[in-house]
Amino acid sequence: MGVTINSEPLIRCDALGVAYGAGFVLENVTLHIRRGEFVGIVGPSGSGKTSLLRAITGSLAAARGSVEVTRGTRIGYVPQVESVDWNFPITVGEVLAMTRTRRHWPRTTRSERAEMKEVLEGLGLHGLEGRHIRELSGGQQQRVFVARAMFGKPDILILDEPTSGVDVRTRHEILHLLRDLHSKGSTILLTTHDLNGLASHLPRLVCLNREVIADGPPRETLIPEVLERTYGAPLHVLEHGGMPIVLDHDYTSSEVLRDTERQMRSERESRQ
């Protein structure tokens, strides 16, 4: 949909190593993200996804290698829903306005309000400016923070686990929203451990576990060989409508599924 992927990367991690104290949690990570891309970082919990984001956003220094963010790149960061203080006295409008710290006055200007309205409308949050953040549905709550990031006119949107702690419907809503933003030209980087609900729908996945295990479209990355190295346990993959579906451990004992998978693999190999 008319998205141009510029050849100049916005973010480049080269042989990046990240450590807390003496122990390295990321090693030799090379990852370039260009304007217009939509990239998902997947891996089990503790694999270093958040640490990688923190290195990219500059809140964690590179212990080895380098992280470079093109000068002047504005990062719109959407925190994990769990890290937000939902009891803080703050309305949706206030959440958005607080990012415009260049303006030294509490009250929003008329043009700011118009912009705010546009962003909120674009995310289906029209008319909620005066609501307290707690008085919103799960999907709306997540979208408010996407709206805050978008209100800063970012060059890249970075989301940490946007679908963790939300119900199935909200997950769909968020996926839909992010695809929509991407199709309108936003560059998006997110982390997730939700393989089927989110990752398999993205154009590019980076499988991470201390190091980059694989990098490419889901058809090349959501395969048993890669997943086993990423998750440290054998995972089975089915295909449905051209889309990989990863089965979690509960199903691995099922002989039927194992057979189906074997059959699919031979099909895939014969196609290649």
Binding site: D85, N87, P89, W105, G130, G152
Partner: protein, 283 residues
Amino acid sequence: MTIALDLLAPYDFAFFQRGMVAATLAGALCGVLGVFVVLRGMSYIGHGLSHAVFGGAAASAVMSINFFVGAGIWGIISGVLIGRIARRKIIGADAAIGIVTTASFAGGIALLNRYGQARKSIEAVLFGSVLGVSWVDIAAILAVSLAVGAIVLFAYRAFLFATFDPQVATVSGERVAAIEVMLMVMLSVTILVTMRVIGTLLISALLVIPAATARMITNSFSRMLMLSPLIGALCCLAGMNLSYHLDTSAGATIILVAAAVFTATYLLAGRRARLRVASLNHL
């Protein structure tokens, strides 16, 4: 008619007028900073800081250094240090803060016992004294109020961002650490100038109660920031007048009025509003 005259009686005294102006300003000032104290879960820090400042005040009295210079330097240094320690969330940080500030407080008492003129001055700093309020005190409170008001207005959005979401504020290029130092400095200076009116022991209450009451009334940050100083000022106004008629300590009466306002709000407000207060950290 006679009742009205009776109510106005204290205003015949210049000392009462001065105390009145000082207390009302102090209430508004503590109300503004109280919003940050309450929302950041810093009430413990406010408490510790007022004790630390007392030590500095006593030391400067004994060494006959100007109160504002001596206690001010001591207060700002300890404020910034306490902020640092608390920010790093080291295990035992609260104990460390408690030990150091209480030691500073005890040292102050000992110094005044040994070298101070009288018990009277200790009492004045512990519980505040309306009689002792001078125009210099009022000028100091006014200057700090204007400065704090200007800073909070001017950097309103940055303060809000850094308070609500320090991590994302950092990513967005806000100087969160600088803002936190700024808050601690404002808090130290506020404690310093209001100490002689409200008293060391009661300042932390004035930093917490009006803000917590405002939190129950509203769900908006900007409204809380307007309501809290208003409540603080009104409580001080009412408390001062009551203290004259009941012949009780001004600082103590102010806090009792504030506590009564809080309780009334708590009882009148719905269950939801009560939950908002329950959710505040370290109250």
